[in-house]
Amino acid sequence: MNKIGLFFVLFFLLIGYRQGVSQCAQNWDEAQSEFKEGHLYSIPSLLGDCIDNGFTKPEKIEAYRMLTVTYLYIDDPYGAQNSFLGLLKLDPEYRIKPSDPIELEQLSKEFITTPILSWRVRGGINYSLISSLYKNGVGNTNLDTDRYKGLIGANIIGSLDIHFNKVVSLGIDADVGINKYSYTNKLFDDSNGNQNSKDPQTFSEWGYNVGLPIYLKFTYPGVKYYPYVYGGYSPNYNVYTSSIASYSIVQGENINPIGPKSLDISSIRNRFSNSIILGGGLMRRFGYKYVFIDVRYKLGLSNLLNKETQYAFLSEPDKYPEIVEYSSLYQKIDDSFRESDLSLTLGFVWPQYKPRKKKTVTMGSMFNGIFKKKGKDE
């Protein structure tokens, strides 16, 4: 096809499209007029074809609304339901306007307009909180002179929310995080005979870990803002742990620093751990998308110290050379400890809607639904 031929094809397609649009505009005007005059039975035929082909999305939404009301007035409930479902497919979170008739408002309550799934992605910062379960160390562990201090880490989280209804959903996360904290202590007796008072040691530890939190979320269905709270459980996998060790030998006025040196201490950390998560946040709607801010407390349940390998560097020094250095030169024998964290993240939500006719749902029925045996469902 030459260029002239291509031009004519495009020209006639455009002309046809413009004519179709123009016809649907006339149909829309005529349908509005008929609706005002109460001539309802002609409206479905005026709008039907243009809904399929011709109207823009806002026009389709208005057309479905008019059709729904029309079917309600002519006492055709199935037609009303189908039209309203068509509306909801275009505007899943359609909200009843003050100008809408009471019949439409009643009908709308029979439909679920919340998404069935929501995809989320978010990122932010966390602050680690260390709980020492049993104090170990090369110094006097009866003296409370050592200190843990949380440091700022980071999280990137991808999530899937499975919505049971407007209020309750099940969230599943893939949480990749870096947690950091520091440990400071002093070793040996100072010149006055005070224990754990002479040589300062500092360890800045960071761990790269992956969690798979699963939690139940309760959302208050607001108009623009949607506050929510949730709670659940997270299994975690510790991928890698490193500690930046430094130590100073104090001899009177002289200070001899050792390090800092980064040491791989993954071998003395438990790979798997468990956490309970509690959180809450606020979603803000923008069109059919949301942005949200989330605060989460992740309560570590598991001891992260690997007791099997903590002292194995003595019997297998060649296998654990960095632990030899960590424990012998930098003089760090770790406590048994749990790590919790507080995180603050910002993110986006992409809901996937499936408007459908509602069954009667209560809290009780929802939980019964969750626990219902498969055979009964079928």
């Binding site: 110094g139 100072d190 002479k198 001899n256 468990n274 002292y311 019997s315 250095e325 048994s336």
Partner: protein, 404 residues
């Protein structure tokens, strides 16, 4: 189990599965690595278990650069937490060799440099570290003493053994066996007897074992004295049986033991009828089993067992486990460097190594004494080199060497 029950079970497991202070196994409750020290350099030379389940660690401390050494005594609880730390300064270079636990306190022995010569210094310390008694042993003819061991008999008396250099046959020189037997420090009663004649064979006594724990002064009290002698460039293990008066030197070594080129006796351990000698050659350490023969006149030596031959090694101490195997602490000289590692190992009855733990792959560590505790676990002390300072370490482990 239906889904609801499963859900509640999972919730229950989550909370029960929470690690906390009450259900976590305290790793340091039984096994630990501890460091002790103060300003300057400290070394650990000996450790004993105390009646309260804790430890008393003897060592030395140099608190100022270029200064002299002081006795150092550290008391810890059963978890190795320091309860107190004391130094004892006699003005010169003071070197502790051994620490013993006795009723109401501790007995420590070593030497002290006083008035230009080195004397034997013995202290009696109470359980809080206060000095109860301070005894210096000296002899006008002796230039320098070396205190190597102190042993308590069943009657509560004790013996100190070592070497001295002094005037022998009218000239300075010669090292000889030196034993001082005390009935009571305050009374200062002692016996002193020497072995060796100041001739070309120098005898360096490293320690002794009481063979029969009869009361001091009893007619049949015997000692097995061990050490080494030097004749020209050859060093040989020496072993003597002696009675109380040291006047009757028993015997030296039978010929088979002389197959070793160079030997130093580091420690000896007596059992009912045998004596296990920890012996060091230039690059090897050996255990030599000494068996008392029926007529009690001679001792037989089993072929020496090699316990490690990779690097230069020097034995430090040997103790017997409850299962009759042996715990050996030693120092390994790393090749081509001045660095040393501390090793503790278990050997079987004939010297085969069952396990070993090494400290000092990154830093220089040396071993002190080891002790088998009442529950069968093992502790040992030594010196940790931490860049520009040295500190005392104490390690405790299971009877099988595991520290987890």
């Amino acid at each position: 189990m239906n889904r609801k029950e499963l859900f509640y079970l999972v919730l229950l497991l989550l909370f029960v599965g929470c690690d906390n202070a009450s259900n976590i196994e305290p790793t340091a409750d039984k096994y630990f690595l501890k460091f002790y020290g103060q300003t300057g350099d400290q070394e650990g030379v000996d450790v004993k278990e105390t009646p309260d389940g804790g430890f008393i660690i003897g060592g030395n401390s140099i608190s100022t650069f270029g200064g002299t050494s002081d006795y150092l005594l550290i008391k810890t609880d059963a978890e190795g937490n320091q309860e107190w730390q004391e130094t004892y300064d006699f003005g010169g270079d003071d070197r502790m060799t051994k620490v013993l636990v006795e009723s109401g306190g501790y007995l420590i022995a070593g030497t002290s440099e006083l008035s230009g010569s080195t004397k034997i210094k013995i202290l009696r310390i109470d359980t809080d570290g206060n000095k109860l008694m301070d005894h210096t042993y000296d002899s006008t003819n002796v230039y320098s003493y070396k205190c190597n061991d102190i042993t308590v008999t069943s009657s509560g008396d004790f013996l100190v053994v070592g070497t001295y250099s002094g005037l022998v046959n009218g000239k300075l020189g010669g090292n000889s066996v030196q034993a001082i037997i005390y009935n009571n420090l305050s009374e200062g009663q002692h016996h002193e007897n020497g072995m060796g004649d100041g001739g070309p064979d120098l005898i360096f006594v490293r320690g002794l074992e009481v063979i029969n724990n009869y009361a001091v002064g009893g007619p049949e009290l015997n000692f097995l004295v061990y050490g080494y002698s030097q004749s020209g460039s050859t060093i040989n293990l020496e072993l003597y049986q002696s009675n109380l008066n040291f006047g009757e030197i028993g015997w030296g070594l039978p010929e088979p033991l002389n197959v070793l080129d160079t030997k130093l006796a580091d420690a000896i351990l007596s059992t009912d009828d045998t004596y296990m000698t920890l012996t060091t050659s230039e690059k090897e350490a050996f255990l030599i089993r000494v068996i008392e023969n029926p007529d009690n006149e001679r001792y037989l030596f089993s072929p020496p067992s090699l316990i490690r031959a990779e690097n230069e090694i020097a034995g430090t101490s040997i103790v017997q486990k409850l299962d009759e195997n042996y715990i050996v602490s030693a120092i390994i000289n790393e090749p081509n460097s001045n660095q040393t590692s501390s090793v503790i190992l278990e050997t079987g009855e004939f010297g085969s190594v069952k396990w070993n733990n090494i400290l000092g792959s990154e830093s220089s560590y040396t071993s002190g004494g080891a002790v088998v505790l009442a529950d069968g676990s093992i502790a040992y002390t030594g010196t940790a080199g931490l860049e520009s300072q040295t500190k005392v370490f104490l390690v405790k482990m299971k009877s099988n060497g595991e520290m987890k």
